[in-house]
Symmetry: C2
Subunit: 167 residues, 2 copies
Amino acid sequence: MKLGDGVEQAIHCVAILAALPKDGLLPAAALAEFHGVSTSYLLKHLQTLSRAELVQSVPGPTGGYRLARAPEDITLLDIVLAVEGPEPAFRCKEIRQRGPNPLPGYMFKAPCQINRVMLRAEKAYREELRQVTIADLAAQVRTDDTEGLIEARGCAFFDAAMRHYAP
Amino acid sequence: MKLGDGVEQAIHCVAILAALPKDGLLPAAALAEFHGVSTSYLLKHLQTLSRAELVQSVPGPTGGYRLARAPEDITLLDIVLAVEGPEPAFRCKEIRQRGPNPLPGYMFKAPCQINRVMLRAEKAYREELRQVTIADLAAQVRTDDTEGLIEARGCAFFDAAMRHYAP
DNA sequence: GCTGCCCTACTCGGATAAAGGATGTCCGAGTATCTATGG
DNA sequence: CCATAGATACTCGGACATCCTTTATCCGAGTAGGGCAGC
């Protein structure tokens, strides 16, 4: 039961991308430097997000990353599943069917109770994440940032690194 | 986001232990054979459960494992936390505070929104597991096992391997 | 002076090494049973 | 015949290799912009 650091990085990056204007564009190197993490490693996760069609990659010298959808349409669950993989954390190996003298398989047509409960718990977990969008997150940050300092830092950063997307 | 196989093994073992009589006792080798898993590896997890005081270990030639509490007092959450560790799956590294020109720490007295949401989701996950006891699980299995075949297999197995606990 | 072409430099993308944790194995400490011996 | 002491064999417990997933890195493919030559 451990989530990789990539999840946190990915979420923060998507949140940053959501904060810049419609045609904004940020290269991976800038995102990595801003968060103080390894560029090449962050690229890996950004590529994953790109394959999941959460962010869009623009190649070329003035390229970078931008959101592929509106912030309201990206949930935390989308990001977590993209980075960590969609399969559930608990995977029933059906060890109840193994052992020296296993009963025939049709005896176990009812799903393993343990598996059911574990998946139900995981469903609750995902449901919580599904209800939070990147837009919600941004709104919360704006509420907390009463003095506007965090936003100011972001603007300074954008000025230095941001590019414009010309479709 | 991946749970080790040890979790499944541990839960099944606790469920088996809950099914035998009050003074019943099963050695780890028997549990491993019944589930078709590595004995030494299962021992590792049984020791963990023992340290968490979910099961009780009895040394000696007629020793083995038994439950340390009533099945009603053991939840799935207890087992999962014992095996996987109590710390949350998502650990906020506060990368928002890192980077080239970080703002002073007091700016971030409000907890990271991302962290808050992730922990809330995990709380929901744990709450689901907390509400299911080993006794509930056993009751469900009995309901599904209309023909009593699974129970019969269990009895045959117990006859061969079970010992009695003399306090 | 303007236009078109080529070269360069910077971006993302996937394939490739290194590290950490999970998995699997081994040997040591302890105890109830069995055996043998003495009363 | 009974009790007791010792040896034995089987149990759990923790320390030790091994493997695989995760983490981190590097080099290659592609593209927009700038420079240069030609018109």
